[in-house]
């Protein structure tokens, strides 16, 4: 077995039990013999050849070219730059160099830079394709690397200014990259929670996380006019969307407006505006469908919590009916304009990201569902309003053809003026998907409202009695 690769074996043995060749070094007027196993590198400097030892450098008696011939017998010694040869048997780590190339760390912590162009024999010796990435690599790991997550031992919250600058500044060392710092902060916190520590923001919201990291930004002088709360929020949303962490792990509270249906949870009645949530509640009482009012662009935390609850309910339905989970259908009430459609696409995409299988989307706010006079009188010109970027408008026109080929939009509120018509639309479009046909037996919101009313009446009567 050993005879297959004697060079590798000799090098490995040299590292392990310090067998190796003796190299003559100049020590003043004397000559000192040091084993190659104790030498980290050889470098050429000002016409001299130096051996780099753990704690010092010493000039060799023989020139580097002669020493290299000896080292070849052991294998594992490769040049990493002009006049610099290191012992790869003592390599423990390779990482990206802040400048160009790779930073190599040896067993004693000594670091050297491997310059581009010298990596080929090294890759062959280590039997790897890349010095930064092990193959196979998970998507999860790739995302972490892309976001600049670092292997930090110290808690970011307690790092000094210098430590923060050393860890998160750019290659030139001038400024701290705040987005990378915040991503690392979030990742570090979630690692502590996963290791068993309680969440420092349990029951709070994203603001709570911001208040936690704010002093760190203050320490490095980054609390300027830029709103880094938004950076934190977007980094958190991105990490949650990539499934690197979840809002639930932090114990954050979602104040989104949604409710999972008891009878037809797989049919989602979705409204863009929170003002329509009351109507959705009434529809849930009638159909037993799931309801959600996004209030503009849906928050990632809402999508995560909503999907988790919906998946749980669908699993329960699947067990109860002894059938596979039904197809999820979104009946949406969004504006008929590019932003309304983008919002719907984002929401459907989020649901898929958080684990819902294929989703069918039925938009109720289409020109065919408006009366001709409404289309004529209540439309607004998307080109003239100037809110929509031209490219976005062009794309939307290609998809929908606007209203009779004109770049006109319709607010969903126009449709909602006639609630009976919307109810009929929901029942017609949702009919093929309802497992329990409407009306469903228990009206949750109605009962809740009645109970509330009853309590209110009781309280009022009691107050009256006391007054008497």
């Amino acid at each position: 077995m050993f005879h297959a690769n004697p060079g590798t074996l000799a090098g490995a043995l040299a590292r392990r039990i310090r067998t190796g060749f003796g190299i003559a070094l100049r020590a003043g007027p004397d000559v000192e013999y040091v084993n190659t196993a104790n030498i980290l590198a050889f470098r050429a400097k000002a016409g001299k050849s130096l051996a780099v030892l753990q704690d010092r450098e010493a000039e060799t008696v023989r020139p580097l070219s002669r020493i290299l011939q000896t080292l070849k017998k052991h294998g594992g010694w490769f040049p990493i730059g002009r006049g610099l040869v290191i012992n790869f048997h003592r390599l423990v780590r390779s990482a990206k160099s802040p400048a160009a190339g790779w930073t190599l760390t040896l067993e004693n912590g000594a670091q050297f830079t491997l310059l581009p162009g010298y990596e080929k024999p090294v890759l062959k010796f280590l039997a790897v394709a890349d010095l930064l990435q092990v193959s196979p690599i998970s998507l999860h790991q790739q995302y972490l690397m892309k976001m600049g997550i670092k292997d930090l031992e110290k808690n970011i919250l307690f790092m000094t200014r210098d430590e923060l600058i050393a860890a998160f500044s750019t290659a030139s060392g001038s400024a701290v990259v705040v987005s990378v710092l915040l991503a690392n902060f979030l990742w570090q916190q979630v690692q502590y929670i996963r290791a068993g520590s309680p969440s420092p923001v349990d029951g709070g919201n994203v603001r709570s996380l911001w208040y936690l990291v704010k002093p760190v930004l203050s320490r490095i002088g980054s609390l300027d006019e830029t709103d880094h709360y938004k950076t934190l929020s977007s980094q958190l949303a991105e990490m949650a969307a990539r499934r690197l962490l979840s809002y639930r792990e932090f114990g954050l509270i979602d104040d989104g407006k949604w409710s999972i249906g008891a009878y037809n949870p797989h049919v989602i009645l979705m409204a863009e505006k929170e003002a329509h949530y009351r109507f959705l509640q009434q529809m849930q009482d009638y159909t037993g469908a799931t309801i959600l009012a996004t209030g503009g662009q849906p928050a990632t935390i809402t999508s995560e919590y909503f999907t988790a609850a919906l998946l749980e309910k669908l699993a329960q339905v699947s067990i109860d009916t002894a059938a596979p989970p039904p197809e999820v259908v979104i009946l949406s009430l969004t504006d008929y304009d590019p932003y309304g459609w983008a919002l719907l696409d984002t929401f459907a995409g989020d649901l898929e990201t958080f684990g819902l299988p294929k989703i069918r989307v039925i938009n109720l706010s289409l020109p065919k569902n408006y009366r001709p006079e409404e289309l004529e009188m209540m439309h607004y010109d998307l080109e003239k309003s100037g809110d929509t970027p031209p490219a976005m408008l062009r794309k939307w026109m290609k998809r929908t053809n606007g209203i009779d080929g004109k770049p006109w939009g319709m607010e969903v509120d126009v449709l909602m003026m006639d609630r009976a018509r919307v109810k009929t639309l929901i029942l017609t479009e949702g009919k093929p998907f309802f497992i329990v046909p409407p009306p469903v037996p228990v009206c949750f919101w109605q009962e809740t409202e009645q109970r509330r009313q009853k309590l209110h009446d009781q309280a009022r009567n009691t107050i009256k009695r006391f007054r008497r």
Binding site: M1, F2, A4, N5, T8, L9, A12, L13, R15, R16, I17, L91, V92, R93, S94, A95, K96, F125, L126, A127, V128, D130, L131, L132, Q133, V134, P136, I137, S138, Q141, L144, M145, I149, K150, D151
Partner: protein, 191 residues
């Protein structure tokens, strides 16, 4: 059929004649060739090359085996195993590994002899294949690949009553041993 028989008989004939010509000490036919054409008369032209001296006789098989076993205890003949972290790639010498196991999120957890833990996105069967040429690694359980030379105790877990091996005070946890693999493991541990 006849054709195959014909070829076969030719092959036998050829081999018999060749074997006679080749010296039994020669390891290959390439080296044996000069022995066959030993000159009977005085050579003409360039003098024949002086054959290099025969290599020294190898040590007795028992000693060589012992030496190899001792070397194996010191170092692995395999290359370092790279593992990924968020920022860098670490290289772990196979002889420094205590055991490898699978995690809940379908990764491989590598624990070294000093108790440090590493993760690798891979399959245990793939790593078993990679580390297979090194006899120190043994699949003790469907979820565990252990370094036999790092084993400190073989015991029954007092709580679960399941068989397991431990790797000393520095290494947290233990590696399970399935009943089917116990006999082989005992043989490897010379029990």
């Amino acid at each position: 059929m006849q054709y195959i028989f014909f070829l076969g008989s030719w092959y036998d004939f050829f081999m018999k004649n060749t074997k006679k010509a080749v010296s039994p000490k020669s390891p290959s036919r390439k080296r044996a060739a000069p022995a066959r054409i030993a000159p009977a008369k005085r050579p003409r032209g360039r003098p024949p090359k002086v054959r290099p001296e025969e290599p020294p006789a190898p040590p007795p098989a028992g000693d060589a085996q012992l030496l190899e076993t001792l070397l194996l205890r010191l170092v692995s003949p395999l290359k370092s195993l790279p593992v990924q972290t968020n920022e860098a790639v670490f290289y772990i010498r196979p002889e420094d590994i205590a055991y490898l196991t699978t995690t809940e999120d379908r990764r491989i957890l590598i624990v070294d002899r000093s108790g440090r833990e590493w993760q690798r996105f891979d399959m245990l069967s793939a790593l078993e294949k990679r580390l297979g040429p090194d006899p120190r690694f043994f699949r003790s359980h469907k979820s565990f690949l252990i370094n036999v030379f790092a084993v400190k105790t073989l015991r029954k877990n007092p709580e679960t009553n399941a068989l397991e091996v431990t790797f000393g005070d520095q290494v947290k946890g233990a590696a399970a041993v399935s009943a089917g693999n116990l006999k082989q493991l005992r043989a490897l541990l010379e029990l």
